[in-house]
């Protein structure tokens, strides 16, 4: 299977076409094709994983048993590469195939598991949707895109998967495109990531010409060997990083992610947990040598440790967490938390914490999918398809115990509480940051951890505790109505709007339970406190990879971050559970607090900047200006030449043609008639006169001949 992992993305791709072609005629409207294909991919991915682990173990033990020589076994654990020639042009060959190493395997497993859960969840969640078949087709294609990106052998193949995901996110976010808001959100998502893609196009080009290869293996090897000029690779890294910012929702291009909540909830889970946004982080991890060498990660600590990746990641952690506090929409809270967690990953990669960052991708996928699907479950069965925590939730723990407990697991994992998965990965990132000398970023991470714990506590509190506020609210808040209209009309047929909240059916809770279990246990794959480093062993590349020193685990630091997270939870719980009259309503009384709140509520005005100024500027004045130039200046010149020619023509006609040329013609006519009158006198009919004229004229002609010819 290691050699043939390229089959894994092909299965859902084929499934996409099957669903489009046959889906509507199938008994389950095509969803069965999607399910079968994703389960097949899942099984194949797991087989690949097992084989890879065996491969690695064999290499490691073989190396130790054989020569006890470190170099010997490192040479053995190469990525398994299989390439077919896809096309060639101008002597350049492009391949399509698979590049399987630990990183790819880890992602394959994550993507297929999450996608399977999402598929199952969607069976119930979208039951009766008017575009059920298309939905599953898009899910298949989405998964195919991500899997293709994961196994990509070269950067072009990676780009293919990257863009296919862009397309699918467009289709899925705009799934209910009858609402203008949804289609706008879809457009925004596609457009924002596409803006980042300028970087990808340029970056791939630069890296190609720097290393003379599209092959990921060759690129990494060449860059690691230091055969490329630093400036070029810096440019390449910057360009690629712009793409990452766009795709992985980093500041300042994160604004599309919360809007992407317009899509169906399972799609949000898929986008935020396993595909799409992770693609950016994956790109960095995949081409890590390029970034390490370009941004001098780990070697420039002396100048303050600033590098763009750590900086952007750090900023993103804090600003997204800040935004999560003021959201009333549960999905938006989760969306901002995703942005914030992606910030951790990028920051981790920026400070040289490759393995922890990849591990964080791995763990985050499980608990974030869990949280999103939990939110979906709430909307489906608890809050009449509303996502507004303040208006239509509250006290749901009594009605939806499974959803509640699994949500709690997800929250604890996200907040980084021992022993849930998030603790191990997040803590390692911070430890690496400290170890590599990026102390400021370690503190940013700690602040982020505190904020994460706090806003998630707020979210849980508003949703599950207190009194149930649903039932009446959905009708007097227009904002909410607009937000939920799509889900509501999907389910209107089999849900009474005023029914009691109840637990969701097993098709929804099943995936929740599975993910909750995974979110609890996967952390132990790489549990530094217990000296378990299986994940590192399996995943971290051994060739074509920069040297990274690993910090020793420190209980003190881990305890510190754990304590901070716990503090976040407790303070937030205290704040929202007890009626602290002095703090409540602070934002309304205190001008400064109010300003801060407004600032957050307007999302730092970034959307205003993008939509109001940049997009509106381009589509409005600039485009109109260009068009004006086109119509008035260029076309105007052309038309002007045309009109000028016409006017000139008219003038010529009037003055030259009519007066001179035609004048000449007329004149000739007139002259003819006048001379005719004159000559009539000559025509006497008298022979002698004629004879005289004849003679006279011949005499004149003769004279002329004599004079001229001589």
């Amino acid at each position: 299977m290691l050699n043939h992992a390229w089959i894994i993305p092909l299965i859902p791709a084929v499934s996409f076409f099957l669903i489009i072609g046959l889906g509507k005629k199938m008994p389950m409207k095509g969803s069965e094709i999607g399910l079968v294909s994703i389960f097949t991919s899942l099984v194949l991915a797991l087989i690949t994983a097992v084989q890879w682990i065996n491969h690695t173990n064999a290499a490691v033990t073989g190396g130790e048993a054989g020569a006890s020589d470190g170099a010997a076994h490192e040479a053995i654990v190469k990525p398994v590469i299989k390439v077919f020639t896809w096309w060639q042009s101008g002597g350049v060959k492009f391949g399509w195939g698979s590049h399987i190493d630990g990183l790819a395997v880890a992602l394959l497993v994550v993507v297929t598991i999450i996608s399977s859960c999402v598929h199952v969840f969607s069976l119930e969640y979208l039951r009766g949707d008017r575009r059920y078949t298309h939905y599953f087709a898009a899910l298949s294609l989405f998964t195919a895109g991500m899997l293709n990106l994961v196994v990509a052998e070269n950067t072009i193949q990676l780009l293919l998967g990257w863009e296919i995901m862009g397309l699918c996110s467009f289709m899925l976010i705009g799934h209910w495109w009858e609402e203008e808001a949804n289609s706008r959100a879809a457009l925004k998502a596609f457009f924002t990531t596409r803006t980042g893609d300028i970087g990808l196009l340029v970056g791939i080009s630069i890296v190609y010409f720097a290393t003379k290869s599209f092959s990921i293996e060759t690129i990494n090897q060449t860059v690691t060997d230091g055969k490329v000029s630093h400036l070029v690779i810096l440019m390449g890294a910057i360009a690629l990083f712009i793409a990452v910012i766009g795709k992985s929702g980093q500041f300042p291009l994160h604004t599309w992610l919360p809007d992407a909540m317009a899509g169906p909830t399972p799609v949000s889970a898929l986008i935020h947990a396993a595909t799409m946004v992770v693609a950016g982080v994956y790109l960095v991890a995949r081409l890590y040598p390029v970034f390490v060498s370009g941004f001098s990660i780990g070697t420039n600590v002396t100048i303050g440790g600033l590098n763009p990746m750590a900086l952007i990641g750090g900023i993103t952690i804090v600003i997204a967490a800040g935004l999560a506090f003021v959201q009333n929409d549960i999905k938006k809270v989760l969306a901002y938390s995703t942005v914030s967690q992606l910030g951790y990953m990028i920051m981790g990669l920026g400070v040289g914490a490759w393995t922890p960052a990849v591990f964080h991708i791995f763990t985050h996928a499980f608990f974030k999918a869990l949280l999103f699907l939990g939110a979906g479950s709430i909307a489906h069965s608890g809050s009449h398809h509303s996502f507004d925590m303040k208006e239509s939730m509250g006290g749901l723990r009594k009605y939806m115990p499974i959803t509640f407990w699994t949500f709690i697991v997800g929250t604890l994992a996200l907040s980084g509480i021992f022993p849930f998965a998030g603790f191990f990965s997040k803590d390692e990132i911070l430890a690496f940051a400290g170890h590599h000398g990026y102390h400021s970023f370690m503190y940013i991470g700690l602040v982020g951890a505190f904020m994460t714990a706090a806003y998630m506590t707020r979210c849980v509190w508003l949703t599950f505790f207190g009194e149930y506020r649903g039932g009446h609210a959905a009708h007097d808040d227009h904002h909410t109505v607009a937000l939920v209209a799509h889900d509501a009309d999907v389910h209107a047929d089999h849900h009474d709007a005023h029914a009691e909240p109840h637990e969701s059916p097993w098709l929804i809770t099943g995936p929740l339970i599975l993910l909750a279990v995974l979110a609890t246990v996967v952390g132990f794959l790489n549990a530094a406190p217990f000296k378990i480093e299986k994940f590192t062993e399996w995943v971290q590349p051994r060739i074509a990879f920069p040297e990274i020193s690993v910090p020793d685990f420190s209980w003190l630091e881990a305890g510190e971050s754990l304590a901070i997270a716990m503090a976040g939870i407790l303070i937030a719980a205290a704040l929202w559970s007890k009626d602290l009259g002095r703090l409540r309503g602070l934002t309304k009384r205190n001008k400064l607090a109010h300003a801060g709140y407004t600032f957050l509520w307007n999302k730092y005005y970034l959307d205003h900047l993008y939509e109001g100024i940049i997009v509106a500027g381009i589509t409005g004045p600039i485009a109109r200006g260009a068009y004006w130039i086109n119509q008035k200046l260029i076309d105007g010149t052309v038309n002007g030449v045309g009109i000028g020619a016409r006017e000139a023509g008219k003038w010529v006609y009037k003055n030259i043609d009519q007066k001179i040329v035609d004048g000449a013609v007329n004149g000739a006519g007139m002259a003819a008639s006048e001379t005719g009158g004159l000559l009539r006198g000559l025509q006497t009919g008298k022979v002698q006169q004629y004879g005289a004229l004849l003679f006279g004229s011949s005499a004149i002609i003769g004279l002329i001949f004599v004079i001229v010819i001589k």
């Binding site: 096309w87 060639q88 042009s89 863009e163 009858e178 457009f191 300028i198 080009s205 630069i206």
Partner: protein
């Protein structure tokens, strides 16, 4: 080479005109059915010969002229009937042979007003001869004749079957291209006389051009440049295009977009670069500059449009900018990308024009403001619009990408002797253009396909895609998908020819 091979190209080129003559004299105007059948059979016969050529074509030697014929033609001006096909012309040749029958199928039930199917189809067949002939001509005078043959049928097509301001548009189209052609002919003559050539054959002229001093070469290339740039059309010679496209009948727009625009770019590749490589090098930065201006400018123009067809027309300016950018790098990679871009643009924009035509047929308007919710009114058409838009904005996996991305890539490292930094700047600008392309196309899809239908259409019923439309569109869609998934089909054909051509021209 058997005797049929000798005739194959001439047959493919002249079958349409023979068919047109037969139709003109043998079939009465009132008998529309026979007219349609005759036109379809004729174009299919030409296509069959084209397919024969494609099958017999030796792909391993795509750089050499195959099916070549070289017979005396007009001795007194040293022009010969010299035709042949290689990897560069084959895709374009096939494209013109494929597009016409499809257009005839599409027009089966949609003869635009004021009717008169006979004249309409005769013009279309004449166009086919002109287009196919241009792509196989190996003699400049022959090339010029075919190049001009295209002009007149198109003029009448726009002028007679067009929309409201058709006369303005058709006259503008005619005069504009004629202006370019005049300069082009002048350059041809200059090449012949200044180079003391023995004939107008391209291969002879390529040798003869060495006799011309560099300064004169620059001027001659300038003449060629304007002639071809008008046809492409390149900024700032593009203004005939939106008008012509907007006013032309649907199939006129399709043929215009799919094939006619390529005559210009093909001219650069076939004539400009091989004959005057040194001048091409000196002009390259300027061509590249105009190309990237066109990319951005066309995109901005699109964003300002309120009419769907005009928007698509403007997008052609942007897309041909990518093609010209690829050509201006003078690298095999870039020119391959350009040829791919030409074919892809032909298929995609042709498809978009078909869709626009069908939408107009149903709604009698293309004003974006009045459209909306197409996915509800005619779901399949809405999906096709989405697909074509995605292909047009260069989504990998669909044909548009393989013209666009390699062109951008090639600009990173242009041919030896060109300034790298200039072209790298172009690369970044062109990459920005891809974003704008996504912007205007998705915005179009959002406004036309998504949302709720406007109130004025309430109670109207709209047919979804009709059988004749499926028949006419299917090859386009298949082409977009197949070339997108497996671009090697096309690169395989062009690669050898382009590499050989550049090797001969620039000697590397």
């Amino acid at each position: 080479m058997n005797s049929f091979d000798q005739w194959a190209l001439s047959l493919a080129v002249f079958i349409p005109v023979v068919g047109a003559l037969v139709m003109m004299f043998a079939i009465p105007k009132e008998d529309e059915k026979s007219v349609k059948i005759a036109a379809l059979v004729t174009s299919l016969a030409a296509l069959a010969v084209g397919i024969y050529v494609m099958v017999k074509f030796n792909y391993d030697k795509s750089g050499t002229m195959q099916f070549a014929v070289d017979k005396p033609w007009i001795n007194i001006i040293h022009s010969r009937f010299n035709i042949g096909i290689d990897g560069i012309s084959l895709p374009m040749f096939m494209l013109s042979l494929v597009v016409v029958p499809l257009c005839i199928i599409y027009s089966w039930n949609h003869i635009p007003s004021p009717g008169n199917a006979k004249a309409f189809f005769i013009l279309m067949l004449l166009l086919e001869t002109g287009m196919a002939g241009t792509f196989v001509a190996r003699d400049l005078i022959l090339f010029f004749v075919f190049f001009e043959v295209v002009l007149l049928p198109m003029y009448f097509m726009i002028g007679v079957w067009g929309c409201y301001t058709r006369q303005y548009a058709s006259t503008k189209f005619f005069l504009y291209t004629l202006f370019g052609s005049a300069l082009m002919l002048l350059s041809f003559l200059a090449l012949f006389f200044k180079g003391n050539a023995t004939s107008f054959a391209m291969s002879d002229l390529a040798v003869a051009a060495h006799n011309i001093p560099h300064g004169t070469q620059l001027l001659i290339f300038g003449g060629l440049f304007i002639g071809f740039a008008v046809k492409v059309p390149m900024f700032p010679f593009h203004t005939w295009l939106p008008d012509a496209h907007t006013q032309a009948p649907t199939v006129g727009s399709v043929i215009l977009a799919a094939v006619l625009l390529k005559l210009g770019t093909y001219g650069f590749i076939r004539i400009g670069i091989p004959i005057l490589p040194e001048a091409a090098k000196s002009w390259a930065w300027f061509i590249g500059l105009l190309a990237v201006i066109g990319i951005i400018y066309g995109a901005l123009g699109c964003l300002a449009q309120t009419d769907m067809k005009r928007l698509i027309a403007f997008s052609s300016v942007a897309h041909m900018g990518f093609v010209m950018l690829g050509i201006s790098t003078l690298t095999p990679f870039g020119i391959n990308a350009a040829i791919f871009g030409m074919v892809a643009h032909g298929l995609i924009t042709g498809m978009l024009f078909f869709l626009a035509g069908s939408i107009k047929e149903r709604f009698h308007t293309l004003e974006i403001k009045r459209l909306g919710g197409l996915l509800l009114q005619a779901p399949r058409m809405g999906w096709l619009l989405g697909l074509s838009a995605m292909a047009s904005l260069g989504l990998p996996g669909l044909a548009g990408f393989w013209g666009e991305f390699p062109a951008i890539l090639s600009a990173y490292s242009p041919a030896k002797g060109l300034t790298e930094s200039t072209f790298r700047t172009f690369m970044v600008i062109a990459a920005v253009g891809t974003v704008l392309a996504a912007g205007y196309l998705l915005w179009l899809v959002q406004r036309v396909a998504f949302g709720q239908p406007k109130a004025e259409w309430e109670g109207h019923h709209f047919d979804d895609v009709l059988p004749t439309e499926w028949l006419a569109w299917a090859p386009f869609l298949i082409g977009i998908l197949v070339l997108g998934v497996y671009p090697q089909f096309l690169f395989h054909i062009t690669d050898g020819a382009v590499t050989d051509m550049l090797h001969t021209a620039l000697g590397r």
